[in-house]
Amino acid sequence: MTAMISQAFLQHYWWIIISILASLLVFLMFVQGGQSMIYSLPKNNTQKTMIVNTMGRKWEFTFTTLVTFGGAFFASFPLFYATSFGGAYWVWIAILFSFTIQAIAYEFRSKPNNVLGKKTFDLFLFLNGSLGPFLIGVAVATFFTGSMFTLNQMNQVHWATHWYGLEALLNVRNLSLGLAVLFLARINGLLYIINTLDDEALTKRSVKGLITNSIPFLIFFLFFVISLLFSKGFAADPTTGTITVEKFKYMHNLIQMPVVLILFLAGIVCVLYGIGITVFRKSFSGIWFSGAGTILSVFSLFLIAGFNGTSFYPSLFDLQSSLTIRNASSSLFTLKTMMYVSFIIPLVLAYIWYAWKAINTNKITEQEMNSEEHKY
């Protein structure tokens, strides 16, 4: 049976896996969202410790998902890995830098003799919390807005500007998605705090924070989505692979893939529902709706970026160098090998869920913070 599996099928299969990983990553960035509010949300040190500790128990998941996202992209679409990482150097380095300082900040911040001081490590958490989601949003936006590169006959990348990725920060649409991802991470961070911390005052402040973060999120997100729907896109001819500019390409993608449209709309509704039940019904479960909504909307965005004959990494400098899931993928053999590996993903998700539940059985209290030995 496996002999009948075509490369085109596997390219789509692996784009779906990449999209799932990306959507899980954006959801798990509630950790970063929480970190970005460590100066503004808590009223005292105990509240700050509680926020840091609830996020600190999950930071590894976000980090690991980012690493796996990178590894899976490398294995399935190595030409993207080579082109984007090797060209948009500064954007990726800035992302890496921000995640590097996060990894040690939790473990080191409250340990005696940490040399750099607690304030420095808290600043690291804040920087990662703010820059991480924003820069990842900007990088993903280039999937739609394009970059300045060309590939030679040996598929070696030449970046056409001397900014090596920093030019992405000059595009308003990129900035709007970056900011939308940041505010979404903050919304999810607040919902997670409400779900896991037992502190009435903090919950009240988090609910207020939900409203103030939802407004900019909606503004930036709607701006990006509307501009996306009415912008030109980069279409790949299914036979020749030739890239052409197509008006309203992403709107066409949504219309031509109604399932994706439904998932996208359902995602937005879920995020709004998660916020709504928390603000108006004082529910603690908003994170699960907002989380599911985040996953659905990011997943759909990735599908309209790569499916339906679309270039997922367009070149504005040399149109024919644009990357599609067809020309950027690994060989049939490698994609097939990786497909077998991917069968283990449900098991991975199952044990993550089991371990997550085991740790999150009770809400974190002030009392626990005073008695816990392994505390951040």
Partner: protein
Amino acid sequence: MIDNIDLSLVDWSRAQFALTAVYHWLFVPLTLGLSFILAIMETIYVKTGKEEWRRITRFWMTLFGINFAIGVATGIILEFEFGTNWSNYSWFVGDIFGTPLAIEGILAFFLESTFVAVMFFGWNKVNKKFHLVSTWLVAIGANLSALWILVANAWMQHPVGMIFNPDTARNEMVNFWAVLFNQVAVDKFLHTISSSFLLASMFVLGISAWYLIRKREEQMAKRSILIAGVFGLLSSLMVAYTGDESARTVSKVQPVKFASMEALYEGKNNAGLIAFGILKDTDKKIGGKKVREFAFKIQIPGLLSVLTGGDNDSYVQGLKDHISGNEKLGIISTPEKMQRGKYARDVLTSYKRARLINDTAQIGAIKNVFKDKDFQNKYFRYFGYASIDKPEDVIPNVTVSFYSFHLMVVLGFLFIMIFSIALYLLFKGTISDNKWFLWIALLSIPLPYVASELGWLLTEIGRQPWIIQDMMTVSKAVSQISTGSVITTFILFAVLFTGLLISEVSIMLKQIKTGPKH
């Protein structure tokens, strides 16, 4: 077609990767080894129910946590630097190299990161058995991640299981099992994890010795020495065995690296193993490179021939055999390999030209050339030699290769002695009285780190000028970004890593001084 690269860009890119790798490897071996020591200690706690073992486990777990985070932090940069700094490489071999990295993420990192949270925070939240299983899974996950990244590195040393596709201009995997069970990968994995177990054992032994010197926490220290002593002795014996196997494999698949490790310029029968040697410069040269000879050496006659070929009559190849060739042994000279590599590159260039003008007859004809086994084995396997300017450029730095290898071996034997003495004194009941040994154990903590880094120095510098043995030179693999950008990020990372290292050591020392909680 293949652009000329600014050498300073290559040098800075190498420096940045080396910086990240060296720092990363300061933390990872302790994670690999200490995770198993923790699992053993916790198993004793669960089996015996004695609270003291819980206390011991939690103390070492605190030190594990401090080290673990910084290993993770440096690891993410290493993974992405393949793309940011070596993008040509990433495309040329991404079809093979990306697979182990992805499997590492899916199979190992999630296992490690999921259960490390239970290990740290689950003491009062989950039952004893679940917690114990979590600790074991962290150890297994960490070591599984080592497996996959070492499979990837081994493939760079000895590329197998792939074929070159002229359409995509890259190597494509055709046999996953050949990549996974590559002899270099098997040797490398076993040697690396056993040396990491050894390093962690020395860490536990040395710190426990400090408690005994200070007459503090004596029960905890002695129990820790018992675990570290047994685990360390077994590991150091395994290190010796796997190191020998590893060197034997290198002699077959990377003979130039092997000859450099032994500073063997002239191949010979009945070659002796250098137990100790000091190199000096001579006036002799191979091309433009100075030949280094021994100012002093102690060697065991015939042993190198016995170890590599089975008997003392076996011929051990020298560097000159590879530069000038050796017809009797069927070794092709480097100039000949350069010619063949250039021919292979010309065929590829013709193919790309034919593609550009859509000359179907030419495309078909050249495609058949690429399918021809003779072309693959006699010409394309030397593709990388097309980028070599002078034959002597294929000789790596002999001084670094020789000293790093021999110092590592000497240290390996020293570790066997230290663990043996520790166990002897412990069982005799006199370990606390032998201050001299306790001091040796304490001062030996950095030595496995030195040995481990020397191993990587040999692996990576000994492979130069190749990024993929015989197929791609380092200079052709680099991303074409500005040198200034790489210099800036090099400085940024150097400052960050150094700051974090100082912070880590300071925290660790404070935690050790504070000791376990009562």
